[in-house]
Amino acid sequence: MNRNLQAKKSRAGFLFCIPFLIGIFLFFLKPALTSIIYAFSVLTFTPEGLETTFVGFRNFRQALFVDPTYVRTIVESVRDMVLRVPVLLMLSLFVAVILNQKFKGRLFFRAVFFLPVIVVNGIIMEILQSDFLSSRIMAGDAGSSLFATVDSSEMLLSIGFSPDLIEVLIPFAHSIFNLAWSSGVPILMFLAALQTVPEALYEVARIEGATGWEQFWKITFPSISPMILMNTIYILADYFTTSTNPVIKLINQQTGNMRFEYAAGLSWMYFIVVGAIVALVLIFIDKHVVYTVE
């Protein structure tokens, strides 16, 4: 009886995934395979369409050893990511926990913090950046009247911060706009997860005399750990695949020059790097995630 149910369940699980399997074959695996073939070929345009000639690793060799910018751009982008992901995670969790508290005006602030989710988009970002009036604000430039950070490093020095620490801190001060705008989706997901933590758990903890700090680490943190994994992956993917990422810009530039095979080579190598990072993160975090079932 039980085995029968098990067999039924496993069939049902597969059935649930069937639309996705058809979709992934048609709209991902097939184009992706074609793109891999491009990466190993030279494309020529003929009246019948695109013609591919196999050339082995030529595109990859050119990217790695001839192209002066490609490897450097990837290394820089990974380095930025290592700093950015923890900061964004902490910031968004912090904001979500605050927005989850009951205080006057929280609905207003929630609305404000979700605004970037609605409008973050390549074209608008490009327009704001191309506009020399607003680009200074976006970059946190000292010249802009609103977010002058030029004196802050001197101020911190005079308080007694070490120059090394300031060198780490100042870029964050400059990119506060960028951070605030990127944290919309993680905040949203953290908030949704926070709302699903049963209130009864906190009540019990309070009766047992747990402090707020203990409640956070013993109840809140494990309960929302599935969303921490989710958000880490989201932040990584968002950072690596957004159209303002320098590597993506490089790839788009090559596509624009009609060098499809080279662009394909660039993006597949990039994918291997990103994939390795995401796999590491998945393996490392998933071990510590607490799921209610299984």
């Binding site: 709209f27 991902f28 993917a237 790839i251 799921y291």
Partner: protein, 313 residues
Amino acid sequence: MKSKKVVLNFVKTLFRFMFLAGLSVIIVYPFFYSLSVALRDVQDLYDPLVILVPRHFTLDNIRNVMERMDYGRSLLGSFFRDGVSCLLQIASCSLTGYGLARFNFKGKKIISALMFAIIIVPPQTYVIPNYIEFRYFNPFGFSSLVSLISGNDININLIDSNLAFFLPAVLGLGIRSGIIIFMFRQFFRGMPKELEEAAYIDGLSFFRTYYRIMLPNSKASLVTSFLLSFVWYWNDYVYTSSLMPRAKTVMNQLSILFNNISYIMQYEQNSNPYEGILLLQSGVLLSIIPVLILYLVFQRQFTQSIERSGIVG
């Protein structure tokens, strides 16, 4: 003792307010900037005294851009295409997410791996093959088979058709669908298992359990993913520019406007860069406003649905 607590509470409230207000200013500033620039006359851009509040209000920029973007029709086009795609995507992604969250079956690991693959492979990687896929649409050799049987050359071209958006969406491969499937998987995994077990004992089938029990109990995730999905469709650039380059959608019209104005500013001798800024910021404003209004209208339901779901569990 008690007064200490009052002071502590006050300090806490003050810090919370300062922190939130500070970040809010940063977030909101560009909106006010766009609004302020869009409503100005050109002469205000030369005036160093004008920072945010314009001296010469005008609606000319907005009117001009509305005409250039064919705003009314673009708006309708956007809402139709993105609304339908988004609903289809939610349906298919929640189904897959539920399957991955609650069942064990052969090949589940492979499906999960594929889900992560579509999250991290940038769509730019396969834009060109994807274009070809839709230009000569031939799913599993179906079109070739039909043309073989009927003897006519059948060539299905889905470029610039809404189907190029609807078909991937209904098959769980819409814009950023990997993230949405992952989100559903994580949400369903976090839900108590007793809900389903009760349903099975009552004799509900697997699909009905999902449809009648799990979905209504995950309103928060549904509303969240609906909002995200709609906005991602609305803001899409990569897929629209390759699959529907002539689409009458707000974002596409905005990007066309941006390209035109950049071109004019670069190549025309006596063009005024300030006028370009006015038009572009008006365009930005016009393309943000519909989603903004939608959000403000649904905002209450949105936050409430998140709250309400907290009761379950």
